[in-house]
């Protein structure tokens, strides 16, 4: 864990071609690049549609090499297939039918590379009444109950959107697990295959503790209080004199210790204990209560204001343990973002490559495909490919 050696990662030697744009496409390949995979982002010459959004773009692109090409041109299409021929996996989030129109669907890729692993991440799904729609994360936070529960809507509040956009990420992460399962199967049998995941199903995974009896009776699960502080007087946020404390009194002795520390009678009816505990918590600082609760063995944590993330990104422990990645971008300067999400004792690797500019590695990749300098310039003049040059303005 504390080994700073940067090896090559567990997936070294495997290559993925990433035809995706926006979030649910590119985020999965970014995580695969974090695991040591050689990820080549194939970007339209006009740029990934997410570039203008800034952070959401940067957040999904580190660790990749980038070739900008127009796959709608015959020469661009042939280059795209040439990349597929040299890859183990293909990944994208094009809407239904788009890849077929581009000649980059599973059949076309399989013809180029018979044992390819091919993954399409959808908004809604492969088939079905809404599968022709694209769509954004909020739809799936709505459809799978996340917003309803987040806002405690049952108490008369409005639903609340989680600003983490995590249905996109869930779709991407399901695709990571799926691609890895398919790659393992390929290692063991030599067989490739096609797979898909969706934002909608990603949202459903987040609410997968929901169950309903055949007569429609829901099996109860915890619900939020009206003030959106928690799910039980023993498992909620309390406001103190100067900040907030999260309490997790999950065991019976935790509850007794919580009450005793707060000088509330432990035999109080738990369903009506909130008001007394709230009043007591307001009499001291968060730090003071946290020490007292620690002494009494009550699980608790002071709620951190992350200052837009900077507190976590410049935290000494996070930094030392590799939980922060930092790299230099040619236009934006130093960038910090979360770092390793998984550590490997024998195949360590830390993300260390900034998000690419449009066509950052076009020339290097074309040379690798056997395209000579003169032909590269022709292809650029014809609008088939591009790379950053003097005229590359503030385009990220």
């Amino acid at each position: 864990m504390t080994d700073q050696t940067n090896g090559t990662g567990p997936l070294a030697g495997l290559r993925l071609i990433d035809f995706g744009q926006y979030l649910a496409g590119p985020f999965g390949p970014m995580i695969l690049a974090d695991l040591g995979m050689d990820v080549i982002k194939v970007e339209p010459v006009t740029g990934d549609g997410m570039r203008m959004a800034g952070k959401p773009f940067f957040g999904c692109q580190r660790g990749k090499r980038d070739i900008a090409l127009n796959a709608k041109t015959p020469a661009g299409h042939e280059l795209a297939l040439e990349l597929v021929r040299r890859a183990d996996a293909v990944h994208h989030n094009m809407t239904k039918g788009t890849a077929a129109k581009l000649g980059l669907d599973y059949e076309a890729c399989k013809a180029a590379k018979p044992d390819i692993v091919y993954c399409n991440t959808y908004a809604y799904g492969l088939k079905g009444p809404l599968s022709h729609f694209g769509g954004l994360d909020p739809l799936y936070q709505a459809a799978t109950g996340l917003e309803y529960e987040a806002g405690a809507t049952q108490h008369g509040n409005d639903p609340l959107y989680y600003r983490f956009g995590m249905c996109d990420a869930a779709n991407a992460m399901l695709s990571v697990v799926g691609v890895l399962a398919a790659l393992l199967h390929h290692e063991r049998t030599g067989e490739g295959q096609e797979l898909w995941t969706s934002l909608l199903d990603g949202g459903a995974v987040f609410a997968s503790d929901a169950m309903v009896k055949p007569d429609g009776t829901p099996v109860p699960r915890p619900r939020l209080d009206k003030a959106t502080t928690g799910i039980d007087p023993g498992y909620r946020l309390y406001e103190t004199q100067d900040g907030w404390v999260q309490v997790a009194a999950v065991k019976p002795d935790h509850w007794d210790a919580l009450c005793t520390t707060l000088r509330v009678d432990p035999s109080i009816d738990r369903t009506t204990a909130d008001a007394q505990l709230e009043m007591r918590f307001r009499t001291r600082t968060a730090v003071s209560w946290s020490y007292h609760l620690d002494d009494a063995g009550v699980p608790n944590e002071i709620v951190v204001d992350p200052k837009g993330g900077d507190l976590a990104l410049f935290d000494a422990d996070n930094d030392r343990l590799g939980l922060v990645a930092d790299y230099e971008h040619p236009i934006m300067g130093a960038i910090r973002q979360f770092g390793s999400t998984i550590d490997f004792s024998e195949t360590p690797f830390r993300p260390n490559r900034p998000p690419p500019r449009i066509g950052e590695d076009t020339k290097e990749i074309l040379a690798w495909l056997g395209v000579g300098e003169a032909r590269m310039t022709e292809l650029k003049d014809e609008g088939v490919v591009t790379w950053p040059d003097e005229s590359y303005a503030a385009a990220w």
Partner: protein, 387 residues
């Protein structure tokens, strides 16, 4: 047809969400998962939702505080490809089954740890229930709500990040093992799970400006997507997407009967008062409409919209696309009977996944599994511990 992970055996010693649900994603792609529980069972079993997160596996109990238990466990581990555990750093070592000890004997073993905080972190010794990591990571403060201060995240977000990191790490290590012949220690944590979902909002960029920050910055009231939630008749809500990938046949204003600003004026550039007025008119128009009719009409006109419902409603109605995705299934639980729940969310055509059975009862497979690894019938009770 065999699953992609056919023949891969996983010992799941984890409790809570990250380990069990992470392992579920592997179990339902064909892995042979054995849940190894303490005598009396995993304490999280008291929660009904756990029935989903721990389905598709067998269960044994093992008293890891006894010599017989540890010895039998080591025999079982020798038959496994993967071990997953979620205890605080150091706990498995104290039981004599930490990576240093087990990995030395079993060099091909992939050993995955998912505590709340990584070893060496100043919080590593502290309790790691999900909401505590929501607090310490800053996620609760990052989420705006209807009052100042932190918001409790009903969706256990740190854990729900780790559920993907556990199977990703395990699979990456198994792929590596195919090439090197060697297993390894795979480590992640709830804290890293929490960071996973900060990807669009937490970045420090040296040359960013205020506009760059504002696009994704936290705001009161909550930002752009929140503003697209509308209340319909009967206090029911919809969430409209700002894009659908399709060309709308009618605009939202046309469907609502709201007069839009003149075509040559960008709404975002109108005086603020006029923008508020437009927004109020739309909100009033939504309230006049029955939700189900409105959703049908929006979708028929290529405007992406969803009703804001509970997950239980999504399973009961069921949501037509969730159903089409095979995500609404019934699993027969030995205690509660048939239960409608979510299906398998990863779709591999060559090696389709499947649900492999309900949550097992505590120690349901004690005899079968312990005798398979050579524990004498008379010794099973000592290994499995008291009920």
């Amino acid at each position: 047809m065999a699953g992609a992970l056919d023949g891969i055996r996983i010992l799941d010693l984890s409790w809570g969400i990250a380990g069990p649900l992470g392992v579920l994603l592997l179990a339902e792609q064909g892995a042979d998962v054995i849940k190894v529980e303490p005598p009396g069972g995993d304490p999280f079993r008291m929660y009904d939702g756990y029935k989903v997160w721990t389905r598709s596996r067998r269960s044994v109990t093992c008293d890891l505080k006894s010599e017989a238990g540890v010895a039998a466990f080591r025999k079982l581990a020798a038959t496994a490809d993967v071990l997953v555990e979620s205890f605080r750093p150091g706990v498995m070592d104290r039981l004599g089954v930490g990576y240093d000890s087990l990995g030395a004997d079993l060099p091909r073993l992939v050993y995955c740890s998912v505590p709340a905080y990584p070893p060496g972190h100043r919080l590593a010794h502290r309790p790691g229930y999900d909401a505590l990591v929501q607090a310490s990571s800053g996620q609760q403060w990052e989420q705006p709500g209807w009052r100042p201060g932190p918001i409790f995240l009903h969706m256990p977000m740190p854990s729900m990040g780790s559920i993907f990191l556990v199977p990703s790490g395990v699979l990456a290590a198994l792929i590596s093992r195919e090439r090197t012949g060697r297993g390894q220690h795979v480590s992640t944590s709830l804290l890293q799970g929490a960071f996973l979902y900060t990807t669009q909002i937490w970045q420090h960029i040296e040359k960013a400006n205020a506009a760059f920050h504002e696009l994704m910055g936290k705001s009161y009231p909550p930002g752009v997507h929140q503003g697209m939630i509308f209340e319909c008749a009967d206090h029911e809500f919809v969430h409209v997407s700002v894009m659908s990938g399709l060309a709308p046949k009618k605009t939202m204003d046309e469907i609502l009967g709201v007069t839009p600003p003149p075509a040559d004026q960008l709404e975002g550039l109108l005086p603020l008062q006029q923008q508020v007025l437009m927004n109020d008119r739309r909100r009033d128009a939504f309230k006049e409409r029955k939700r189900e009719e409105l959703v049908d009409e929006f979708q028929a006109n290529n405007i992406a919209v969803e009703s804001v419902i509970t997950m239980e409603e999504a399973l009961t109605r069921p949501h037509p696309q969730l159903d089409a995705n095979g995500m609404v299934v019934t699993v027969d639980d030995p205690d509660l009977g048939p239960l409608i729940q979510v299906g398998v969310p990863i779709n591999l055509f060559g090696t389709p996944g499947e649900i492999r059975g309900p949550q097992p009862r505590v120690g349901e497979h004690n005899v079968e599994v312990w005798s398979e690894v050579g524990v004498d019938a008379g010794d099973v009770a000592a290994v499995a511990g008291g009920a």
